[in-house]
Amino acid sequence: MNMAKNIAFKQETFRDDYTYSNSAEAIRRFPFPFAEDEYMYSVNIEQHDGGAPGSVFEHAIDIDEHYVAECEDRRITLEKDPGRYIALPHMKDAQWDMVELIMDSLSTDYPDLFQLSKDGDNWHWINKPLNIDQKFVFGDESTLPMEPFEYVGRQVQGDWVVMDQRDDDLFADMGIITSQADWSLAFDAGMSFKEWHGPVPQANELGIFDRALKYLLHLQYGSPVRRLNWTMTVNPRLDTSPEEYPLWGPDNVSVTADNVGQKVHLRVELQALFRLPRSNAMAFSIRGYLASIDDLKTYPRWAKRLRRVLTNLHPDLSEYKGLDNYRQLVIDYLAPMDDGADLGLGTHPE
């Protein structure tokens, strides 16, 4: 059975009144990232060639119940700040590569929601959840209402950075970034792999960026890879950009013992990397999943695991991820659930 048929898209917000919530099904498939009681950065890269049916890893690009609301949130952010989309002029081929990647994946994996027909370069795209029906000529920018990458970027969940590869390095020369964990595309655009990772503590000393870059430079078309990254966010806010820090900064000091369960969210990024065929560029998707501490607590194994990871977290990582104001509150909140039992290896909920 195709899961797509069953997606009921939520009407919800990621700002102001924050009506975002997860269904029981969304919690069950949440990509909980901790397989052990301790967490440290590593080169945690694996093949992205399909996962268990219903899991977030099943398809190259995951669509879930938050799809429509997330696209709307992106629209609002781009309207306020068009600089969240950047494409340097030499990225034209990569723009069309992205149109192909996203339209091909979505129409293949969710045929009830997205349809694509091609007659040579004459393409016909139907996006049912967003009510879009567009005929265009592949490769001819004038047949789309905006730049090709911005056009498809507005129709997919998660942020995207597209990197140009040259001189044995990757350069962040294109992106659509509206739900980032406190980094700025407008500032980072054009940077090399080591430069944009500059602020990350500890990882360079462990040789992680050297090894990861070497590996990525040889990434092959048709063999995407993925990794998980995580942080925490107060309120289910997608746009935790440095640009809007004046808006969400005060939230960081608003957590109390009474509201911690609803306010604090674990934010997991499913990051996938795809080689692009025409441009030889590389697409990096950063697909965020948000679950409140109370959501996660429905599975005691996750509650215990999270408490232990936060307790053992390296202070530099805690500071860098911005958790210092409320990490102890989360640990204390989860303490009554932790009987100290050995959880074994693995991220599974039960």
């Binding site: 600089g83 700025s184 080591k194």
Partner: protein
């Protein structure tokens, strides 16, 4: 953060040293960068053609044009201002052959303004020798309103665009030629540490 933490996008600057295996050399300098030029010409000069563009800083007490003129036999062009140096560079760049080695010295803002010109012709960052001279003043990009202020000597810095008080991070964008400034009192409005002159 623990000791040993530093942000790797922060450029490191060296002393200018002539490079081997070039077909030509272009030296571009401004203000206190004059000292770097004089140091460079105390080294054994390469045989290939050398071009030198230089402008003194108008307001500076110390001027170098005269000394440079007595020491550099050919290929020297003294300009009226920093802007004139950039204009001269722009004009002459197309004549520079493949294999030219570039050397830049001056304030950080000047170094990255030169890089902006060179980038247009595909000159890579790593193929340009850079020496920071005279001042540690920074260009600061306000991540909130996108204004870039030049000649910033203090952290905390008040943004000229939006008035926010910015903490100046060591995170540096070569494209913008600026460090990132982030509102320092976002979490607790009004809680603003004293500004200190840490980029004299």
């Amino acid at each position: 953060m623990e000791r040993g933490y530093w942000i790797r996008s922060k450029p490191l600057y060296d002393s200018l040293v002539w490079k081997q295996q070039a077909t030509g050399h272009v030296v571009v300098a401004q203000g206190e960068g004059g000292i770097a030029v004089l140091k460079l010409f105390q080294q054994m000069c390469p045989r290939e053609p050398i071009k030198l563009l230089f402008a003194d800083e108008d307001s500076a007490a110390r001027k170098y044009a005269d000394i440079i003129q007595t020491l550099v036999p050919e290929g020297l062009q003294i300009c009226e201002s920093e802007q004139a140096v950039l204009a001269a560079l722009r004009e002459q760049l197309p004549d520079c052959l493949m294999g030219t080695q570039f050397y830049v010295a001056g304030s950080e803002a000047f170094i990255w303004a030169v890089m902006d010109e060179l980038k247009v012709y595909g000159v890579q960052d790593i193929n340009v020798e850079k020496e920071l001279s005279g001042t540690l003043a920074r260009s600061v990009y306000c991540v909130h309103c996108k204004t870039t202020d030049k000649n910033v000597h203090h952290s905390i810095h008040q943004c000229s665009g939006c008035g926010r008080h910015l903490f100046v991070r060591d995170h540096f964008s070569r494209r913008l030629g600026a460090y990132m400034g982030v509102m320092v009192d976002a979490e607790e409005p009004g809680n603003i540490p004293a500004a200190e002159e840490i980029y004299p």
